[in-house]
């Protein structure tokens, strides 16, 4: 049932391929968004894409180890969502965290250095790919246990409300995490106590290699909020940064006004395998499906829209490629030339001994 709806949506969009970005996926741009902001978003999405491609290459060269989950294809979710909040607002996510960290303003050089296990990395080489943190940017991780960070997000929102602040917390979770206990405990607590947390399901349709329909009794994941009487919304065109932004902005405004949480489901797609050591396609999804989805590439959709609105020319996009390549090259140079953590780092940050803040 659900799958039919999805494919109808896709078919509809693709049949109007000559005008990608037009109805029904026509970006309903907030007229308050200045052109500079939109161009900045495009650059950010391009940076995430190229950063992840470089990460894949460095993983292949053996310079990045362990698990490494890439964000290619989901850029519109990160940029559109975080475009709707302020620097003092909090963001917390699971292990597919590079893109969200970049959108939150974490130095991409430090992120890449972290992937390479260097002392200049975001967590001094202690966390790795799955655990990017930045206190100054209010980026609260990077968490590797599925479901583990969902109640923590409620706690962050709890603290905000406790202090009478208007800061909100965006918590990103995968579609697979909506089936674990902490998801339900957290939704209940957030709704019960009216906590300003916005749970954003990045529904990329597969929890590792298991399709949503094979894992969840309810396929329309946002409807799980109904059990907790929580405000919810689905964004089917998750490849459209403007659509994502609009939905998240509404949830954030609502949270600031009422302290009430929301559950958003943003339908998106990852181009790579679950992690670097997993295949792009195989038993669980076909190559054709991946290729079809790639026709609704967030970068292409957004570029077409910017061109159509007369905000950017082909020349702009060519220059953007060069600018972003330079940024990524700088990240690589910085990371490669950084030292490994010194041996005594092993014993640091196990216990906090400096007194409170």
């Amino acid at each position: 049932m659900r799958r039919q709806l999805l494919s109808q949506h896709l078919v509809h969009v693709l049949m109007n391929n000559s005008a990608i970005g037009s109805a029904p996926s026509k970006p309903t741009r907030d007229p308050g968004l200045p052109p500079d902001t939109l161009l900045k978003w495009y650059d950010e999405m391009l940076l995430i894409r190229r950063f992840e491609e470089k990460s894949a290459q460095l993983y292949g060269m053996g310079k990045i180890g362990g698990f490494c989950h890439l964000y290619n294809g989901q850029e519109a979710v990160s940029t559109g969502s975080l475009g709707a909040i302020n620097p003092e607002d909090y963001v917390i996510t699971a292990y597919r965290d590079h893109g969200l960290a970049i959108s939150k303003g974490v130095d991409p050089r430090a992120i890449l250095a972290e992937l390479l296990g260097k002392h200049t990395g975001t967590t001094k080489g202690k966390g790795g790919s799955m655990h990017i943190f930045d206190r100054e940017k209010n980026f609260l991780g990077g968490h590797a246990i599925v479901g583990g960070h969902i109640p923590i997000a409620a706690g962050v929102a709890f603290a905000s409300k406790y202090r009478g602040e208007k800061r909100v917390c965006l918590c990103f979770i995968g579609d697979g995490a909506t089936n674990i206990g902490t998801f339900h405990e957290s939704l209940n607590l957030a709704a019960l106590w009216k906590l300003p947390v916005i749970y954003i399901i990045e529904n990329n349709k597969y929890g590792m290699g298991t399709a949503v329909a094979r894992a969840s009794a309810v396929e329309e994941l946002h409807q799980k909020a109904a059990a907790y009487d929580m405000r919810n919304e689905v964004v089917e065109s998750g490849y459209d940064v403007l659509a994502v932004h609009k939905a998240v902005k509404a949830a954030v405004d609502h949270a600031r006004a009422t302290y009430e949480p929301s559950l958003l489901e943003i339908q998106t797609f990852r181009y790579r395998g679950h992690s670097m050591s997993d295949p792009v396609s195989g038993h669980y999804r076909t190559k054709e499906e991946v290729e079809t989805q790639k026709k609704l590439d967030p970068l292409v959709v957004f570029a077409e829209s910017l061109k159509r609105d007369g905000l950017a020319s082909d020349e702009y996009f060519e220059n953007a490629e060069k600018r972003i390549k330079a940024v990524v090259d700088e990240c690589v140079e910085f990371a490669e030339n950084s030292p490994e953590p010194p041996a005594d780092e092993l014993w640091k940050d196990v216990y906090f001994e400096r007194g409170g803040f």
Binding site: T122, T123, K124, R135, G141, V156, Y162, L189, D349
Partner: protein, 327 residues
């Protein structure tokens, strides 16, 4: 010197610290309207209101996580587990999140939080409700484990725990809340990681803590004294960090060691003490170290089986006599 119960001592500690620091709050099942399943938070809702004394649904992983998130961004939560047995459904939150946050974030986020509640066996509660879990928490780097055995320590240690910047596992005893003792007048704290010699002796060192210390070991030591055996009795008070030097100094004096604990034997806290002592006091040992623990079985319901599984006075006396080569 006032005489108060452990329940009152813990209540005073939370009351004083919440008055002192606006960032401190208490959450848990039945802590507010019900005044606490064991009445430890009695009266706090009236005093501090529902913003700071918070009843939670039965969702340990959820509210433990809420506490951790709040601690990451500057609050200082006290999270009460109705018993430590229920903490096992929040084990991922405590072990993978509270304990590792500081290290895994490379120092960006520390987690000043106290998880507290009663641990150990009471009576006839069966296997799931009767567990002494200190060793599984002490095993985890990043956590500190505190186990007071009297009202004075309960208050002084809980106040220190609340002020500590790390996740603290504070394990009380379900059957000791009503036990009374003297506490100092006015403000005081007791540092973590500092044990106490409860009784000086020359023949054998005995290390024990919490309920088993007061209900079993102290009594056994009294009987041994009547036999002319001089026990040096140590209450470490904090399981991690352990006051190693206090134990080593005593073993160097008596040359013999007996550890009495409620937990199971395999990889228990006592096993760690044996390891440290054999490393640091090998040439001072005149006898193998003896341990008295719960039997290595889930604790049964039936009274006679329960009694035969848990440490008792006779077993402690036998262990001490064995260490003394008297049997």
């Amino acid at each position: 010197m006032a005489v108060v119960s452990i329940r009152e001592a813990l209540n005073q500690a939370m009351d004083e610290e919440m008055t002192r620091d606006e960032r401190v709050f208490l959450m848990g099942e039945e802590v507010a309207q019900y005044n606490g399943a064991y009445k430890v938070s009695q009266g706090l809702l009236q005093k501090f209101g529902p913003r700071r004394i918070i009843d939670t649904p039965i969702a340990e992983a959820g509210f433990a996580g809420v506490g951790i998130g709040a601690a990451m961004v500057g609050l200082r939560p006290i999270v009460e587990f109705m018993t430590w047995n229920f903490s096992l459904v929040a084990y991922d939150q405590i072990v993978n999140h509270a304990a590792k946050m500081l290290s895994m974030s490379g120092g960006h986020f520390h987690v000043p939080i106290v998880f507290r509640g009663p641990g150990g066996a009471a009576h006839n509660l069966g296997a799931t409700h009767s567990q002494a879990l200190e060793s599984i928490y002490a095993h985890i780097p990043g956590l500190k484990v505190v186990m007071p055995s009297n009202p004075r320590d309960a208050k002084g240690l809980l106040k220190t725990a609340i002020r500590d910047d790390n996740p603290i596992i504070f394990i009380e005893s379900e059957v000791m809340y009503g036990e009374k003792g003297e506490i100092p007048d006015g403000e005081y704290t007791i540092p973590l990681g500092v044990g106490e010699i409860l009784r000086e002796g020359t023949d054998v060192t005995v290390v024990s803590w919490s309920k088993i210390l007061q209900h079993v070991t102290v009594k056994a030591v009294q009987r041994l004294a009547e036999e002319g055996i001089s026990v040096e009795l140590i209450d470490p008070r904090t399981i991690k960090p352990m006051d190693w030097e206090l134990i080593f100094a005593s073993v160097r004096k008596t040359n013999r060691l007996v550890i009495v604990e409620e937990g199971w034997p395999f990889a228990g806290v006592g096993a760690q003490i044996v390891d440290e002592v054999q490393k640091h006091c090998f040439d001072d040992l005149d006898a193998p170290v003896e341990r008295v623990t719960q039997e290595d079985v889930p604790l049964p319901y039936a009274h006679n089986l329960e009694v035969s599984s848990l440490p008792n006075i006779q077993r402690v006396i036998r262990a001490v006599r064995k260490a003394m080569y008297l049997d």
